[in-house]
Amino acid sequence: MLEVINLTKNFGNFKLDNVSFKLEPGYIMGFIGPNGAGKSTTIKLIMNLLKKDSGEIRIFGKDHIKHEKEIKDRIGFVYDESFFYEDLSINQMKNIIAPFYSRWDNKKFDQYIKEFNLDPHQKIKKLSKGMKMKFSLALALSHNADLIIMDEPTSGLDPVFRREVLDILYDVIQDEGKSIFFSTHITTDLEKIADYITFINNGKIVFSKPKDEILETYGIVKGDNSLLDTDTRKEFIGLRVTKVGFEGLTDNPQKFRRKFGDSIIIEKPTLEDIMVYSVRSERL
């Protein structure tokens, strides 16, 4: 459904370097990475808001520039910032946007607006960030889009609402012809719902794998500092040593279990652990 192949863009002091990943219909992919890693840039390149230097992007099997119009008709898009005309009301804004889409469903839109408790006559500049995001979401879901792309949609929103958003995404994904691509640095949201995780850091893809596989392959190893020597240190992707012991991320926890048996604790990592340790080790 969404295929990015060797995407490259040079910005002078930042480079998006050979970014590749693939998302099949019916699944949710989480796109994680620290701030400035290239998430928004990648999404803007996918949507052709920025010109790529090289690489291929295919959506619904078609080139994203040659068939730009028909592809965007089927994409529901949610930005992290609001790019609406602030002086207009929700209804006025909707009336500007709706005619662009061939499969616009006004009933659905009204339903979502009602469900989200939004006042259709309210001016957009009076809406809070959360309400603007809900409006964006309502728009993205009201034209029968097959691919939903979201760029940090939940940053700045309270956990209660973030859960609501997840519930809505679950409903969307009940249709196995639809996919969701979702960039965020709030990894707890993805922990539950994501099928695939693509991790980007410094413009490069670190991995793009099924979430279950990631959480099973990586492990957090905790133990006493006496167990560390140059060889063991090499096995860690990221390591944190304190006066009272060490804690590190490894992609081979079984090796540690075999070597140290019960003298260490191995825990399931969270996506946040993986991200933090990977980024920190790069910075060293």
Partner: protein, 212 residues
């Protein structure tokens, strides 16, 4: 295409604040400047309103970054440019109709000097307007907004000066008035060609631009 034109329409007329600033703008300018010739005033009003109507949507793009929103919808960049060029002409027609309305009203109410508008006046304003837009629009599509604004204000002032403020003795105004009087068909064709060329340039400029 129609959706794009409608959007620009709504931005101009659906929002109270832009309506008010529009209605207030020209009387304010007239207040400041001193034009005695009613024909000149007419030219000035038509050009100014046409210019404002065309540029308000661009201002919104700058303020709300809405061009990013538009670009993420199913539209071709080419269509965006073409719709703006069409809308510029529509703006001119609205400005013209509006001005004619005002002047007819003033005439009927016997306020001020009676105005004798000839068809030539309309042709002159149309020509001036096409020239302004042919430079104005490409700058909006290419230059960063602040720079585009500065350039456009210069163009606007320059051309309106020559058509409105400076009396007939300047060569450019003379040349144009004479040319129009004698070969208006030719002038029309040439100006439309200039307009079309400007549109093609704009399409190219906009397509090759990165939108942040």
């Amino acid at each position: 295409m129609i959706a794009l034109i409608k959007k620009d329409f709504k931005l101009n007329f659906a929002v109270k604040s832009s309506l008010i600033s529009m209605v207030m703008f020209v009387p304010l300018l007239l207040f400041i400047t001193e034009i005695n010739d009613i024909v000149r005033i007419f030219h000035f009003i038509v050009l100014s309103y046409g210019y404002i109507l065309t540029n308000i949507p661009f201002k919104y793009d700058v303020k709300d970054k809405s061009h990013l929103l538009i670009q993420s919808m199913p539209v071709r960049k080419r269509d965006i440019v073409i719709s703006k060029y069409i809308f510029a002409i529509i703006s001119y027609c609205i400005a013209l109709a509006f001005s004619l309305l005002i002047f007819t009203a003033l005439d009927l109410l016997n306020i001020g000097d009676s105005i004798n508008l000839s068809f030539n006046d309309i042709k002159e304003t149309f020509l001036a307007y096409i020239l302004i837009s042919s430079i104005n629009l490409p700058t909006q599509f290419r230059l960063p907004p602040k720079l585009a604004n500065i350039v456009n204000v210069f163009i606007y002032v320059f051309i309106t000066n020559h058509f409105v403020f400076i009396p007939n003795s300047t060569t450019i105004a003379n040349f144009l008035t004479n040319t129009i009087a004698n070969n208006d068909f030719l002038v029309l064709i040439v100006s439309m060609i200039i307009y079309l060329v400007s549109m093609i340039i704009s399409i190219y400029l906009y397509k090759t631009r990165d939108l942040y």
